[in-house]
Symmetry: D2
Subunit: 329 residues, 4 copies
């Protein structure tokens, strides 16, 4: 038997995401007060946060910027050797940027971009969150007590990016980093309009969707997880009363079967909240689920709860100046 | 960097479980009518079933027998090479039984036992379930329509075994097959009373718990998953009205944080139902959560909903003749 | 103090609803197999059904007819004297039809119509459902075991009618029968477009909404109650896989705050399912909640989960021939 | 027909409850920070609070006292005439105390006691809560925005009292005030050990249970309502991490079918939280459900989720000095 058949298990997980916000104070308040996230560190123009069941120093970095959008996406590898192997593969693909010394919460990391230009990092060395005495809980598998603010999210789930050429960026993630294709939207011409891919048992750790604007490197959303479907109604009530724009949901996706809610944080970035993450994939020879774009409305986009609005397929950050006013009421 | 540091990813998933029943018709009715599972095949003294989101031919084999208990547990590897590597490791550990040609739903499999004597199989070649036209659904990531019987479970989740020497069997699964230790119960003397271990992102694909009876090779439970916490109340109502013994729950476990219900199927085997599977583990350097047995009551066993009854820690199948009458009302 | 200030408590509850169906076998199968309702009696062109927590002989009568629509709505009074008083009031209002001897499940009843022409009955004498031995449950406040078919509804909740002049019919129900106004939709001209009224603590036992078609006496929907929000997702999955048209939901209404799902049964009548009934009203001097029709979209119609489709405001049974094809995909 | 057959509709609702606390600051913090209730007024040794969907000035008055226990229970009548009629009936029963001028949130009220000595009031004139601009919501049937603290309860549900002679006090409430018997626990000798009675469609606005201590006038619990079963798990997690004693639940009661959680607030009084209120009673000739005390364990007390602990039947406030330490860990 040949080693060529062996799957790659070198990337273990989504470690953190950096988003840019033109209204950083309001953005941080959104995550802290409404989603119940904890501030780990404030440094320069950035605030680092984590959900109460996130184990590392942070899973979200909010950085002040002129426009909303993606800062970067960081992945943790399965081992130091795995990091070395993947860095070599990225270099071979010609998309490497080079090593950085680290940041709050982690050590050295290798920077690279997707073919569409989204900045990413690979890293191994991470710093764990350690609760102070007043936040320690007797539930030993939980890093701290449940917060009493808002409707607290439990952990980072996934990230979703828009790309002018969505298929090429997904292919890079699969071939170079070992992501596995779970679900996909294609049109009659075979153009890949969206790919849901993962290194874990989740139906996706990242999705890459077609950006009809043709702009490269835009951000679609970051998703945090509740694990309790009902909590989406609790947070939706709180957000609606506090003038946070709810774009769609709660609904059950067809793709991934996740139970979802989409809102825009005050800085303009889309945030998804997961009541549950849908189905898990354990099958090592998983046959990707392919949706023709014609079957997406009312089936692939939303299985229960109606269709997604047009803005879901067009709005990303940075937003196009002309379109923003129309898209976000 | 050394290859010795690399984790083993050779076992991909729990494939199926065979249970033995002295009342096979009632056992099959329980899974079919109340849990909404589908019968894939009837052959000899065995009936093969699957939940409606199980992708393979079956995840449960019910075989008629004089006593309740475990038939065998089957694991699917990550690749053909991975199967070869793990068979070699099992042989080296001296616990191999040899190859079988296969069974309904899968091809050749390598049989072995745990140190405690539970029969297991490793396999690669599986047969997929293909829905007939009337059962096909437009939800493309679901292998068939949702059944209209009972409160239908969605997929196999995990298996739990009792062992006279629980630590040794867990150690075998970890060292020989690559399972990772997630949570553990120990006493003051350091004796391992229970191990929750997995090859996936689940907090456990299998648990191995101390059997105070000293009997070897007993079965604790098989678990199916709903993914919807509320469904445990729906199925509990249905089972209670139909004279199925409910041992405990719905409750939220401390260990795994899963939302659980325990019942005994008519043949006497314990069945767990998961409202949700609790937290997932993505961290490649996960530090195992260790519970002192003194902290288990009201914390480790059940975080929300009271403690587990004594029978949870003592009842397994085959049941001890003398104890059965006392344990199962 | 004057007796004129005293509220009227003469009508106690919605007793049952008769709907007409051009496809009675499919309609009965819908209620029996998917909603888990029990058939109490089959007689002539009618089938009588009840939910498993309905205490009387039936709450639904399905009668074969050329067109879908309302048969009649029956109300039970608080006492025999109350029946006498209300019959006198109806006669004084000039809308009485006269006494009938009774039907399966109840004794004599007084027939009348709303100003818009919907047929109704007032009655006192009812027959209770008595479970056979195999259906008896140890839960003494429940008339029978939970069914194992579909996702079983628990009890009748309310009825909703369309009227060419919605305000006048609501006024009749309030002044003549003692219904209390809970919520209302009006336009800038003060025209009443919808009234949610009740004799119980529910936000409505009946709603009467404006029919833009100008047709008199049409039926909007009948609603059954689960009491468990999550069950709407369970039944929506089952109905979607079985080609039942889902018009809207699950969503949380603004008006009533109920958690709702709207579907069309195979005969064409709209059926609402309630995850929960929203808020209850105990205040004896309740100040009606008045919504300007401009504030209904995204607030009054649906508080969480998006707006209701246009068909919700226009489709009723009997359906207009021309519009049916457009409205029901 | 005779007027003697007519039911009494003179009492409309439970208006508010006063509880006594030896630790008033901690008690108020419990209701305010964890249950998300709002403080309406602080006056003398009392703090007045309401849930965010309570419409009146307050539904809870917390008064500092040497011992925990009941202050009083207040009921609102259906009309001014109804108040007059019931006051006359109370006077005739010999249990009247006389009129008081009023309190914060309401006007004159007539005080009386149950035969067991619990202080109660009947009143008509109430003050409504009016939200300040920053708390106003566009959900017009809700008096204010959903709070962002804790897991906020929505409204007062019911009160439960212990009585040395439980049957006599329940009989007084029924005969003098028009409460209707919904469910009851009796022993073989016919002694009434508990009565669930209501003036509304709820299965109980008040329950009166046997106090085995023989002490008169003790308080069992006050109950607030979520209307969302899942929220009991959310609040249980928050309370457990904050050292609030959880006595039982979440569980589904047999009696009332409500989904319940019992905790002791820091002052020592038991507080129940309702995920849902169970079934509603609309039948004007409701046949009371009678449980023999032998059928209560595992059926009447709890239908799903195990039995209630012994303390549920013995612990009340004021607590017996000797028993407190044993009962509350």
């Amino acid at each position: 038997m040949s080693n060529l058949q062996e799957p790659i298990f070198d990337v273990a997980q989504l470690a953190h995401v950096e988003i840019l916000s033109p209204k950083p104070e309001e953005t941080v308040k959104f995550f802290n007060q409404f989603l119940g996230m904890e501030v780990s560190e404030v440094s320069g123009q950035s605030v680092y946060l984590r959900a109460y069941e996130d184990f590392y120093h942070h899973t979200l970095k909010v950085t002040e910027s002129r426009e909303a959008g993606l800062g970067h996406v960081a992945w943790r590898t399965s081992s130091p050797n795995a990091l070395e192997r993947r860095v070599n593969a990225i270099k071979a693909a010609g998309l490497g940027r080079g090593w950085i010394e680290g940041d709050h919460g982690h050590g050295e990391a290798y920077q690279f971009t997707t073919p569409d230009g989204h900045l990413m990092e690979l890293l191994w060395d991470v710093e764990y969150f350690r609760a102070t005495e007043d936040k320690k809980t007797e539930l030993l598998n939980r890093p701290q007590k449940r917060p009493d603010r808002g409707v607290p999210v439990r952990r980072l789930d996934h990230v979703n990016l828009m790309a002018a050429d969505a298929g090429t960026s997904a292919k890079f993630m699969m071939e170079t980093l070992g992501f596995r294709l779970r679900e996909q939207i294609v049109d009659d011409a075979g153009t890949i309009l969206g790919s849901w891919i993962s290194v874990s048992n989740l139906a996706h750790d990242i999705a890459i969707m077609h950006d009809p604007s043709g702009i490269r490197g835009r951000f679609h959303h970051i998703c945090y997880w509740y694990g309790v479907p009902q909590n989406l109604y609790d947070i939706a009530e709180l957000l609606k009363d506090n003038d946070i724009f709810i774009e769609a949901g709660p609904k059950k996706h067809g793709i991934s079967q996740a139970f979802c809610l989409y809102v825009y944080e005050p800085g303009g970035n889309r945030v998804e909240l997961f009541g549950d993450a849908g189905y898990l994939i354990f099958d090592p020879t998983w046959e990707p689920v392919v949706w023709n774009v014609r079957d997406v409305p009312g089936k692939g986009d939303v299985w229960i709860g109606g269709e997604l609005p047009e803005s879901f397929w067009t709005y990303g950050t940075p937003a196009q100046v002309v379109k923003t006013a129309e898209t976000q009421p």
